[in-house]
Amino acid sequence: MTRPEEAPRRREEREEEPVLRASGLTVRFPGQEGHGAAVRGLDLHVAPGEVLALVGESGSGKSAATMGVLGLVPRGTEVGGSAVLGGRELVGLGERGLRGIRGRRAAVVFQEPMTSLNPVFTVGWQLREVLRVHLGMGRAAAHARARELLELVGLDEAERRLRGYPHQLSGGQRQRVMIAMALACDPEVLIADEPTTALDVTVQAGILRLLRGLADRLGTAIVLITHDMGVVAGVADRVVVMHRGEAVESGEVGRVLGAPRHDYTRRLLASVPRLGASSAAGAPPADAPPAADSGAAAPGSGDAAPALAVRELSVHYGSAVAVSGVSLTVARGETVGLVGESGSGKSTLGRCAVGLQRPSSGSVAVCGTEISGLSRRRMRPLRRSVQMVFQDPASSLNPRMTVGAMLAEPLRRFGPARGAALDRRVEALLEDVRLDPDMRHRYPHQFSGGQRQRVAIARALALEPDLLVADEPTSALDVSVQDEILELLTALQREKGFGCLFISHDLAVVERMSSRVAVMRGGELVEEGPTTRVLSDPEHPYTRTLLEAAPSVDAAPRATG
């Protein structure tokens, strides 16, 4: 990035000598002895300057494969086969050998940034550490460079962020810190595990440009794990499709997207939500109960109080303002999409709506009950009717509880189900979110990112709430699973008539799910209105930028010249 003198080499050359080549790669987690391994006989190669997209079903072994290569798997995991990086065999190399490679020659952006950043050190400290350890920079130089890196990934107020701790950042901000950390030493190979799931489309576009630029200008080889076919189409050169631990298809992006050979790839592509498509199909919003139809006029209409009514809500963290003067209503049976810039206060708003965050001012009413001043005890009866899917599923699941226990807990608390009936209900919930009911005995760390996310969704749905706050509920899901989950949500909503605040960066998904959309930026609500109107005819310039930046599979795959 900062070595412009190094001209990009020619592509043909690169393809001939991949910098990273995995062949017959197998990853078997402890406890999988009897079952199939998480990754089975995967072949993979990526050349300098090439962007390889790794796509596939959630839980198909994408993370396992890439982390296995670098030995970043839990102790006791068996990694077999071969993975050669720059002429060096990595499998069986041992911690000492791998240490020289990690961070410097091969860097990683982890899928779940919250748990992957060290909670007790400042962002600046964690960034500087890489620079000082690998590049021997002095404190001041490292600081300046860290700042530069943050600006590169589009974080504003870099100076303040450097002093902050991970828990003070929004999901997208953390993700960008992870990216900055991985880029710090100009690695030869960059493994980015769903690096843009928490980013709004404009920021995402910037990051993707940045990655593409790295590949082109510095010859960095990039393995990009993603679910977003638009992203694949936009930046990747080649793509490998994984299914159940094996690669089912690979090839040039244009070819795979244009003429998929494998069944699974075809299904995958068919499930990709397309912006503008759902309004044409028109299904969910039109089918939604009457309240949804009244759109912006909904608040107060009908006899039932709205599921959520937020008035003039502001939240301050010390001197920083996360949310300022936001008013928003979600009627029963309605889904309101909340989109906006990363760090604009969406999650904060969501947390206020479920009573986890005390607003600095303003009011929040759920189903007609004012909750902003309620004590925890008074709040508890309301909990059943308000549920949240957290943006960061990994940290929202209790590491010491099996997911079965976690799902059964609220059911037992609020529901009459006991014993076998309870077990059946838990199994049904898991099946609803397309998880194997046998997985209920597993602990959170034994799941893939997308699987965890589905557990979190199942937990929120267990109690059939009146208001569901879903904070990026499908960001870690591949499009086929996402499709099914979205279908599930719509069907449930039709049946139970709950109100839903749906926070997402994926405009196509928002379009599909919501009758109305609210757009946030810098803590303020800049635009709100019926989905069709906002997405087709945005009033605010920021909304316009968002729409323009939205990636699309249908966009011409990246020119290969």
């Binding site: 102790r75 479920v354 929120a460």
Partner: protein, 280 residues
């Protein structure tokens, strides 16, 4: 399958944990069955066999009153295990809920509980013990109570620290958002994640309690002579170490083994309860 095995089965599958369990069961069992297992009456003095070194008749030698040491160790295990374990368990029963609550409700509960805890900590153990003996009257049960009270602050502070640390975690928020009542949050979500620290504190507390029992017995608050306890045997062997080292060595070994058993068992439980540890 490890993924599906219950903690109990995982404990048994872990060699160190299983050994710890076996050792604990063996020693505790030997203590409880002392009346059956002991070759002699532990109180039977023999003025003609004072300080006899180990022999066939008395495999571990005899003590300053010619009593059979093997029998005394078996009975001593019984007293020490009952008092030590009971004390620590009582302490944990009190300290765990209070400590968790203090770490979780930081505005109201913490100042009250923590300051009371400071006060109990500052109370010298001896004043406490002598005072309790005076008020309750001497008995092994009251000894266990006194030791238990003195162990409360330790467990309480550890649990409070853990609750403090864990209440910042998002899964606690998630549980609250899921409608978990405070008790559920504390005991189903925070406590299991604090189990490591608790297990360690309990397993290190037991030998400390056994040694403290010796001091209380000395004050007349614990076991009544000639009833033996490991702590009493150890401390009374002090002055005759040069003449009769076996009087110190064997009870010492018994205490070490008991501590070993509890600690291995604790480690085993730790690993069995830790879903990540279980995989190693």
């Amino acid at each position: 399958m490890t993924a599906t095995a219950t903690p109990a089965r995982r404990l048994l599958r872990n060699p160190a944990g299983a050994f710890g369990l076996a050792l604990t069961v063996l020693l505790v069992g030997a203590g409880l069955l002392a009346p059956l297992a002991a070759p002699h009456d532990p109180a039977a003095v023999g003025f003609d066999r004072l300080y006899a070194p180990p022999s066939w008749a008395s495999p571990l030698g005899t003590d300053e009153l010619g009593r059979d040491q093997l029998s005394r160790i078996l009975y001593g295990l019984r007293a020490s295990v009952l008092i030590g374990v009971a004390a620590v368990l009582m302490a944990a029963a009190v300290a765990v809920p209070l400590g968790l609550a203090a770490g979780y409700y930081r505005r109201v509960v913490d100042p009250v509980v923590s300051r009371l805890n400071d006060a109990v900590m500052a109370f010298p153990f001896l004043v406490l013990a002598v005072g309790l003996a005076a008020i309750l009257g001497p008995s092994p049960v009251n000894a266990a109570v006194a030791i238990g009270v003195s162990q409360v602050p330790n467990i309480l502070r550890v649990m409070r620290g853990e609750a403090l640390r864990l209440s910042g975690e998002q899964f606690v928020d998630a549980a609250v958002a899921g409608g978990a009542g405070d008790a559920a949050v504390l005991f189903r979500h925070i406590l299991p994640n604090a189990a490591n620290a608790l297990l360690v504190q309990v397993t290190v507390g037991i030998p400390a309690a056994i040694i403290a029992e010796a001091m209380l017995s000395f004050l007349g608050l614990g076991v009544q002579p000639p009833t033996p306890s490991l702590g009493v045997m150890l401390s009374s062997a002090q002055s005759t170490f040069a003449q009769a080292p076996w009087l110190a060595v064997f009870p010492g070994v018994a205490l070490v083994l008991l501590t070993l058993g509890f600690n291995l068992l604790g480690d085993g439980l730790r690993d069995a309860l830790d879903p990540k540890g279980a995989q190693r």
